[in-house]
Amino acid sequence: MSLDRPLTRNVRPDRSPTDLAAYEANGGYRGLHGAIGKLTPSDCLQILKNSNLRGRGGAGFPTGMKWSFVPMDNPSGGHKYLICNADEMEPGTFKDRLLMECDPHQLIEGMILSAYTIQADVAYIFIRAEYIKATQLLREAIAACHDKGYLGKNILGTDYSLEMHVHVSAGRYICGEETALISALEGKRANPRAKPPFPQVSGLWGRPTIVNNVETLCNVHHIIERGADWFQSLGLTADAGTKMYGVSGRVKNPGCWELPIGTPVREILEDYAGGMEDGYQLRGFLPGGGSTDFLTTEHLDLAMDYDTIGKAGSRMGTGTMIILDDKTCPVGFVKNLVEFFARESCGFCTPCRDGLPWCAQVLDDIEQGRGLQEDMDTLARQVEFIGAMGNTHCALAPGAMEPLASGMKYFREDFQRHIDGAGCPWCDGGIH
């Protein structure tokens, strides 16, 4: 039985981009033709809700529910915005790049139907500056859609109009946080904003705004075209659809694959990533990017879906796993991540601005052989302070605490060996 892989059906082995003609030849923009002017926005929203699509950027919030908070009566006639978050920067995450570089029109079609559903009249793709190829392809795709009447005024002769722009960012990880992204798009420092008000009500320029991840939006036209039941049937567990899974680290075949959501970790790791590189043993893994908790060899038979991974004490996050092998120091691994988050803090709130560099410094001390026994207590206290949602302005610092807390839990003896031996056991003859 061949697997239904809607998101990557146009991805070619050489990863060359699919242009408009090729996209349409393979059934592209059928969703658009079938929906605009034929289904009402509320029909589309209902299909989305029924499909149980959950946000693929990491949080897994139900997309239909998120959209349902957008006010549909618009007496002032002001703008409503749809923003695609293409600011892929979560450590170890490399799925959105593939989707945009290989099939830019899929994202555009998904965005048009998403914008139609919430009746947005302006859409932005907020993309990181390093994604040069994707930026160019998306701009070309937008221009091609204008020529075809898929974008611009009176799409397909209806009274629905949509303008779409690509906004190239000027850097910083925090821009991936949806309210920080809105601040950046408004030309300000990318500080996250307090919620409420939620962006659905007061977002870009104070207008109703939806921000969704690339992969989430790529799913939308497939769902509207093929139905909620079809989408539900793709998942192996309670979650619906497919998921872009990835594996990086010391495996034989690092990569990114679209698989039914709920595929077991072991299958992704062994059948797709080819298992560990020769001479390396698996010790643990972050299931979905740098801000998720470690899981270990005891978790290999878990299904990669939001609830199963959540119950195991981690998060599926972006679905792109990072592998910790036996020749890599767990303290060094965690230190790299905490230093990353310390560097990327926007500096707005004290626990994040001051707490993360403190943690990074303590980890550096331990790694360099200057660690004291009480450093473990200091780290544990920081995890408690910073890790508690509500103590910080946004989720960046709590996210940073996930690999730290779980690293100290699963690899405690390795932290202890650093302190007892006044040095890193891996640095002597090891890699790190």
């Binding site: 170890g92 490399f94 390093e130 850097g171 950046a184 420092r189 890599t328 790299n336």
Partner: protein, 185 residues
């Protein structure tokens, strides 16, 4: 009350001097830059909302944003230079110091770290004779760290100018920068 007159004149003189200085600022930016900035302004509800785009436009023409450029942009956007400086220094890809002809963005996030980006950085530094944050004396390269480049299956990776280099080895670094005099030796 007569003793107030000189004070008022001084204030007026200072004001007109400031006005003259500010109008001079417009001349700092080229026609091409101002046209591009004005195009961005036309898309946003108020002028200062084009701040990041304006900084990027000027940087694309000059390679970086000098103090003088920054003041001129701020004036054009009707915002304070201090506020614009706060924005400019927030973003790692806005350069407030001169950079080389090509910026090397070396990923040092987790997947690249596992695959040895620290040694790679040492090799690049050795080859070019610069540490992170520095520019080669011949102005060809500036070496900077960067957040995860989203190509983790090809780690370690780096960008040199607009080009992404994947599965980078020390040998590849040698080949890429081998002709560079560096200063490391």
């Amino acid at each position: 009350m007569s003793d107030l007159i000189p004070i008022v004149s001084v204030a007026e003189a200072a004001l007109s001097e400031e006005k003259a200085a500010l109008s001079g600022l417009n001349a700092v930016l080229s026609e091409a830059e101002l046209t591009a900035i004005d195009r961005e302004i036309s898309h946003v509800p108020y002028r200062s909302a084009a701040a990041i785009d304006a900084l990027k436009i000027v940087q694309s023409h000059r390679g970086w944003v000098s103090d003088e450029n920054l003041r001129a942009i701020a004036h054009h956007l009707e915002m304070s230079a201090a506020e614009l400086e706060g924005i400019a220094t927030f973003y790692n890809l806005i350069f407030r110091r001169p950079v080389g002809n090509k910026v090397i963005l070396l990923c040092n996030s987790i997947s690249c770290w596992i695959k040895g980006c620290d040694n790679l950085q040492k090799k690049v530094s050795e080859q070019l004779g610069v540490d992170l944050g520095q520019t080669t004396p011949d102005n060809r390269y500036t070496l900077l760290p960067v957040t995860c480049l989203g190509a983790c299956d090809k780690a370690p990776v780096m960008m040199v100018g607009d080009d992404l280099h994947e599965d980078v080895t020390e040998q590849a670094v040698q080949t890429l920068f081998g002709d560079h005099g560096g200063g490391g030796e």
